[in-house]
Symmetry: C2
Subunit: 355 residues, 2 copies
């Protein structure tokens, strides 16, 4: 695959920075965008050289396939700044690898890893002042690829756009969430695209999530689409359950995204002496555990929220509360992972990358 160094990337800077117009003490998630973005076009059978340009509108033909056939994939990552203004990423090579796994499944040409990594480094160099430092905040990074090629024929496009945009962001969720175990709607099929970060997976979640919200829940726990007997993900996060002192999470599959937070948590938990089990978790087991008091915790895990504690779940019209724990695994593991991400502690795993 093509190589490239950071210095080879053509940069066009914006005339005036928007940074002074942003209230960094009051950031929502992914609502304001940094001054620049990386863009890279696939055309004539290959990915062209990436460039950095001012963040701004895209122009597309109405027949661009993104509008018709949902050919799009994305990643989600974060950049952190420590007290000395050093900038860090967390396991970024896993994001580019997963982007290319998604690309293959969505019939999108794979991107040279160097275009992604060197492009991202150059972008962060330029926009490093946009990385917020307040606790819980970070620069959210959104790499994405979509079909820009034209035509109404339902077949892969011949042109694509890869973009990295960044957004200084506060916390994704505030506080604990109540979830609904979903038995009618599903997120993904066996042999489908659930393991890929494909745009279409998310649009399909909105309506069932809205129905859950109307009932007073904030998120949906997805179950397998065949039997609805097993819990699979929590909204757009992997899901963990603590029964007594064992932390359980479902194995990844073609329906479940191989989350970077999830696998980091599994490793950290082991190191912290927390027993983990990767196995399918039945809804009935969860209900049983909630009833007999052995269900101690439940949380979602993903880049945006890191760990998102769940205060209770609804199932078939009944609500089950999960009582507060003094020694919360979720809190403990979140502290560990955030400390590594933000360079507040040693990183024996080599996960943190200084850029």
């Amino acid at each position: 695959m093509a190589t490239l160094t950071k210095n080879e990337i053509k940069i066009t800077t914006c005339e005036t920075s928007k940074i002074n117009s942003i209230d960094f003490s009051n950031l929502a998630f992914g609502q304001v965008f940094s001054d620049h973005m990386l863009t890279c076009d696939f055309k004539d059978g290959k990915w062209q050289s990436p460039e950095i340009v001012p963040y701004g509108p895209l122009t597309l033909e109405p027949s661009a396939k993104i509008f018709h056939y949902g050919q799009s994939i994305f990643e989600g990552m974060k950049a952190y700044k420590d007290a000395n203004d050093n900038v860090f990423l967390f396991r970024p090579m896993d994001n580019i690898k997963r982007l290319n796994i998604s690309a293959k499944r969505l019939a999108i040409p794979e991107l040279p890893e160097a275009y992604f990594m060197e492009g991202l480094k150059a972008l962060l160099d330029l926009d490093k002042d946009w990385i917020p430092t307040a606790e819980g905040s970070s620069l959210y990074i959104r790499p994405f690829i979509f079909a820009s090629g034209e035509g109404f024929h339902a077949s892969p496009a011949n042109a694509y756009k890869f973009i990295i945009a960044t957004a200084p962001s506060g916390a994704y969720f505030s506080g604990k969430v109540k979830v609904l175990i979903e038995e009618k709607y599903s997120r993904s099929a066996n042999g489908g695209v659930g393991f890929a970060k494909a745009g279409g997976n998310y649009a399909g979640q909105f309506y069932p999530t809205q129905l859950a919200k109307d009932k007073g829940y904030q998120q949906v726990i997805w179950t397998d689409d065949t039997s609805h007997e097993y819990i699979e993900e929590a909204g757009a996060m992997n899901v963990f359950v603590r029964i007594n002192d064992t932390l359980l999470t479902s194995p990844v599959s073609d329906r479940i995204l191989d989350g970077i937070t999830r696998k980091s948590i599994l490793e950290l938990a082991e190191a912290e002496g927390i027993k983990t089990e990767v196995r399918k978790v039945k809804v009935s087991e969860l209900v049983e555990a909630a009833k007999n008091g052995s269900l101690k915790e439940m949380f979602g895990a993903g880049t945006a929220a890191v760990i998102s504690p769940i205060s209770g779940f609804g199932f078939r019209g009944e609500d089950f509360e999960i009582p507060e724990q003094d020694n919360s695994f979720g809190l403990q593991l979140k502290e560990r992972i955030v400390a590594i991400q933000t360079n507040k502690t040693e990183d024996p795993y080599g996960w943190r990358m200084k850029v």
Copy 2:
């Protein structure tokens, strides 16, 4: 819901028509576009008035949700012109109704029917010279809605664009196709969005279809994602099977699109004295019928190709040919439906709409 008449639609015409640059005797499918398009924005909580503007590029922010979360739906229809330059649509009310069924599932605000129908009529009035008349050709009509609202939060957008673009088109497929019965990849989940014309459904089909093409097939026959025992659709078409003199097709479900061609064929077949059965069709039944000679025909049915005959199928490494029939139901029904669509015969069903 909002009302509107054709004459209330604001029209901005293009300065010079492109029509003379188009070779109408040699049209591909959905590759060239007529002079104008209808556009309509959803913002501030409602669909604004539709307008007709010159067909041309759209401008969107990089954070528009269409690029990230696949929130998009579409329809496919055709306009035909008869010898007296009268213009006809085929069951267009079913398209607007289905568009709104898709909208609901994808958490997209439903569109007032009048905006669709009156907008389309006004557009066809203006661009009627773009409707080709050669046999097998038509003006392909592509209504679509996508999320233009901004933000990286995985939730429904607050702004959408509805567009109708049209493309003078030749036949979608040429000749018979060989199909592969797919047992690994799936198109849709139980409780998923397969019944909706959601963009993401199509992107997910591209890679498995490419694998089938690499093996010498042109299309995939999708099976249910749970057992892979039942045939469900043929690529982006409904699928029909003729065993002896009975025409079979699967019932629609939340995994299978409720095709307008499919239901028209079922009605026409009855009227032609062809026995039909709407029931699940097992792959094993198909293989058995192919072996004992009772499998007489197989075809896909959809707006783009109308009826697309299948010459044989592959299953688990074995190829099964379907011999040519003298009295082909597929051909007979295609003739009937096209005759109605193009005003060459009476339309006892009220399916044809003169615009």
